[in-house]
Structure formats: C-alpha cells, structure tokens
Subunit: 338 residues, 2 copies
Amino acid sequence: MNIYDIAKRAGVSIATVSRVLNHSPNVSQKTRERVEAVMKESNYTPNVFARGLGLNSMKMIGVLCTDVSDIFYAQAVSIIENNLRREGYHAILCCTGSEMKSKKKSIELLLSKRVDAIILVGSAFQEQFDHSHIEAAAKKVPVIIINGLIELPNTYCILCDEYKAVFQTVSSMLSGGCRKILYLYDTQTYSGMKKLMGYQDACGAFGIPYEQQIIQKVPKNLESVTQIVLESRDEEGRFPFDGVMASEDLLAIGALKALKGKKIPVVGINNSVLAECSTPTLSSIDNMLLSLCTTSVQILSQIFEDYTVPQKISYNAKLIERESFHPGEVNSPVLTPD
Amino acid sequence: MNIYDIAKRAGVSIATVSRVLNHSPNVSQKTRERVEAVMKESNYTPNVFARGLGLNSMKMIGVLCTDVSDIFYAQAVSIIENNLRREGYHAILCCTGSEMKSKKKSIELLLSKRVDAIILVGSAFQEQFDHSHIEAAAKKVPVIIINGLIELPNTYCILCDEYKAVFQTVSSMLSGGCRKILYLYDTQTYSGMKKLMGYQDACGAFGIPYEQQIIQKVPKNLESVTQIVLESRDEEGRFPFDGVMASEDLLAIGALKALKGKKIPVVGINNSVLAECSTPTLSSIDNMLLSLCTTSVQILSQIFEDYTVPQKISYNAKLIERESFHPGEVNSPVLTPD
DNA sequence: TCTGGATATGTAAGTGCTTACAAATCATTA
DNA sequence: TAATGATTTGTAAGCACTTACATATCCAGA
C-alpha cells in the first residue's frame, strides 16, 4: 500500500496524493476530500523513511540526558517528551552518563539518525572546556542546552539562576546565625559550578574566609553521604558545621539522616519528590524545571518556523520552605520528631 | 556526500560500497579496507532515511511508558535505553499517561515511525480487557510487555511474581500478629491487580474475612496519602489497622508519615530510592526491575535473530528489609526516632 | 464566446540507499 | 592450458516519497 495505490484508487496522480499528505494549499477541496477518504478506507500510512528521504526529516528530536534514572532528569525528559509530542515530534532518548567519550559518541549517533535538533539535559562540567562535539552538532542542527551555558552559533541555552538562589539561601542561613555551612555536591555540571559559586560568594559577602568554607564532594548515594557526614564529627561527636547546603536533594537527605534530631538547617536543590519524603521534610531550591523544559520545546518550534529566538533565557529559582529550614527563623532547627 | 561519491573516490561501484556498509562477506579484504578508508577521510555518514527505505528499518525501538517522571518507570526506561543502545538500537520514548486513548494514539504514532519493536513499560489494567491496540501492533512488530500479561501471538511478557512476594510478605505480617492490614494502591495495572490478589489471598489464608480487609485507593501523592491515613483514625485517635502494605513506595511513605512513631509495620513495593530516603527507612519488595528490563532487550535481540523465545518469563520478587518491617519480629515496630 | 490569469493537476526527475542477477575475476585442478 | 567453480564486482531495478516545471482546467471580465 503506497502512494501509487492511493493515487490509482482516487483517480489522481501521485503528486496530488503527496500534496494532500503535506497539506499543500494547491489542492481543491473536492480532490482533497476524495483522496483523504481513500486513504482512510485503505488504511494507508505513508512510509516515513521515504518521506524522510524526500523531506530530509523525520520529525525526531534527540534528547541527550546524563541519566534518566535520576529522578530530576527523568522529570525533565518527561516534560520535554510531552511537549515535543504535542508539537508533532518524537523524542529519541540517549542516556549516556557523564563520560565525555560516550557523550560524544551519542551525539554522533543522534546526528547519524538525522534528528532535527538535539536537546541536552544535565550537561556536564567538561563541556565548558571541550565542547567540540556540541559545536559539531550545532553545525548541523540546533542544539538546546538546559541548565548549561555554551555560547556558540545555533546553540540555545535555557537556564535557571541557581547562583542567585543559592547565594540568597546561604545568605539567609548566615544572617540567621550560621557560621560554618557545609556544602555538599557530587558531579561538576555547569549548574553545579554556579551553585557552588553562589555558596562561596555568599560566604565571602558575610566575611567567611575560604578556609572556613566546608566544601565536600560526595558520591550520589544516600548511605555514603550519611556515612561521610557522620564521620566528620570530632571526638566529642560534634559536627564541624552548623548548616548544610547541598547541590541536590538526595545529598541533603543523606545529611539530614546523619543529623537526626540536631538543630541544624539543611537545604537541598531540585525540589524533587524526595524532599517531601524525608523526615523532616526538606527545604529545597526549586529550579523551575517545568519552565525550562517547556521553554526549550517552544524555542525549538520557533526556530523551525524561522523566527529569531534569544540564545539565552534565564529563569529565577526559588526556595521552597519545608521543615528543614525556614529563612528568618534564627537557627531554624531540624525538627526533632516526637 | 553520498554512496556515489564514495564509490567514485574508491574506484568501485555503489553496490560494493553498500556491501561494505552492510558488512556483507562478499567483499575482498582489500576492497573493504580501501572503501572504509575513503569513507573515513570523506567523513561520510550513510543516510538513514535511504537505508530505512531499502532495509525497512532504522533500528529504532518504541518505548511506551506510562510516565517517566515516575521514579520507578524512569529507572526501567534508563535500563532499557542503555541495553538497546548497546545492541545498536535507539529508543523512541513515548510517555502517554494511563489513558487508553492516548496510549492507542501513541502506538499508532510509533508504528507510523516504523519502529522495529515496541516495549511497554507500566501497562495499565484496561489492557486486560481491551488490548486491540496491542494486538494491532503485534501484527506488525514484536511487542514486549514488562510486568503485564497479555497472551497474543508476537507478544512477549516479562514478569515479576509480585503476587507471591506480596502474599508472603502479608503472610509474615499476619503471622507476626497483625490482624487488620491496610492495603494502599493507586492505579490499576496488571501488576497492581496481582499485588492486590496477593494481599487478599494471604488474608484469606489466615482466615481474615473480606469485610475486615481494608483496601484503600489513594492518589499518587504523598500529602494526600498522609492525609487520608490520618483521617482514618477513630475518635480516640486510633488507627483502624495494625499493618500497612502499599502497592508503591510513595504510598507507603505517605502512610509512614501519618504513623510517625507508631509501632505499625509498613511495607512498600518497588524498592526505589524513596525507600531509603524516608525515616524510618522503608522495607520494600524489590520487583527485579533490572532483570526484567535487561531480559526484555535480550529477548528482543533474540527475536531479531530469529531464535525461538519464550512468550512469558517470570522472575521472583523479594522483600528488602529495612527499618519499617522485619518479618519474624512480632509487631516489628516503626522505629521511634531518638 | 473568448481570453487571461489564477488555480489545480500531472509528469518526471530527484532523494540515497539495497539487492537480485549478470558479469568478471580468481584460484584450482586435470 | 583450459575448464570448473568459487569469489568478487557491477548493472540496474527497486524502495516510497517530494517537488520543480509543464500542462490542463476553471472562472471572471470583456
């Protein structure tokens, strides 16, 4: 069942059928209806491969994601996929971990599938230095980067100002009386770097010297974090910090578990389901994932429609207050469960 | 840059180039090397659309997932994607919610993209009754169903025996002294049905009449669950149950929050990260997602290689013990945090 | 009724690959 | 050295569509 069959049955040429298929305006109402009727009754589906050949597009977007099993990225991918589908596109998913090599390879794979664009979710830190693969990709298709900043032609960055949010949150912890805030992080993404800077600058602004900033890299694993935090205690069992800021909810919860019952404020980032699950519930910086992802797809459609679009869009993040930290309340405590 | 250019530069015919591309054995070593060299230095990428036209495949697999933002399905998709990529396939993701209509539409979309197979993750209950869409899909491509059972030609089900696991877990709660176990669930998937049956049969086996089984449907939302559980208390603030089994970790944690400090065992299902995040940590039935998903891709490759494969494979689930329930310990308590 | 321009349709040449079949080359043996 | 069969290569016909260009049809206005 191909375009010839339809043409024959409808008594028209294949060009006309093709025009109907592509919603060309140069088809009379009558003909269009007849052809469409024949298509329906013949249960005809155009062959995407042939169409792809002719149009050089299959309306597919490559979504490159560090790790969908990460609840945060999963949400991003979910939003992106839904929006893409609404626009008539399909998402090819590639979860390639944070290794540069496999990322590069995945981009090549996606390009070899002739995707119409690539969306990067959770781009890693190294891209700051070696973005040759992104540059190469951007020469062929538009590249949208979510929460990462790489300024290149045909590259569009949708960001959330996590720097500011962390700066403000840490500042309010400091003005609430904290002096030594532990900063936990795991991978070095662009966004990760900004968050860390927010912490450092806030400390700086409050006159906390670098030596007294406690910055700790930890694995992204609950138990490990708890373990590491517990081990940081001195001989008398005291923690060497009086506040915790973590680059991710999971890490914050790891700390929370170690601090069980202690009056030490803890804040995470991402505002994921995890934040609600912990006891006490975790205050967390919401980085507007929904907006970022929705916008990314909007930008994409606009690019396809040849509109001029900004190459950089930034949203504000905001702190969602829960039990583990209320700005304003001096030494807002971790609740001691009854 | 196409196959003609390469043929010209390598001084061979396009057929030979195509043979090299497809790893045909009918090419002499010498020629192959020459062609490959030319391809590399010309930076040639074969056009997938044209290949698709010729081979009628683009090596793409449709992955239909109820909701990737659900941490459990996200993990499944992640594992599947990784395995597919290892086998040289790409995943087209479709997260279509649990509505029948959008599922059907998504399957049509995937088929119109001429995917080589479809993998279903998180298939909903209705499929038990109306699986016309799956049947239609299976007529064109193999359909793999993860944790669902629909016995049709060209349909392959990879299951986990959650029935047994729930039966055993509930049994051990009952033999530990529980009499009235609350069962929480949200959506009605095949797997959900089996779990519920496990609960009911265990109750039956222990002589708990149906009227005393407390089965509660709740929304998949932490606060709502907590709320609902709290509201179930009688005037004196007592809960009408002495144990909780939930069809998902999130629901279990919702209950856990309501039961803060109470000595009531709680068990979830899925063994997700959430289970570790809660306080107390949640005992949960691990439904072997990794095995299910890995197997699904294996089965697929075997089908493509024309091996005969079983249409139904079942794994055993197992309870992962954490603080919220230890079988054997009578009335194993929810730990009261110090 | 005729004419001109607008609108609708058809023809044919791509698009870049696969593959059956034919032809050429090669190695082997009598 | 010629004949034989195996191996390698080339030719040409698909695969199912798009689209520039040519042609046919339509309708309004003269």
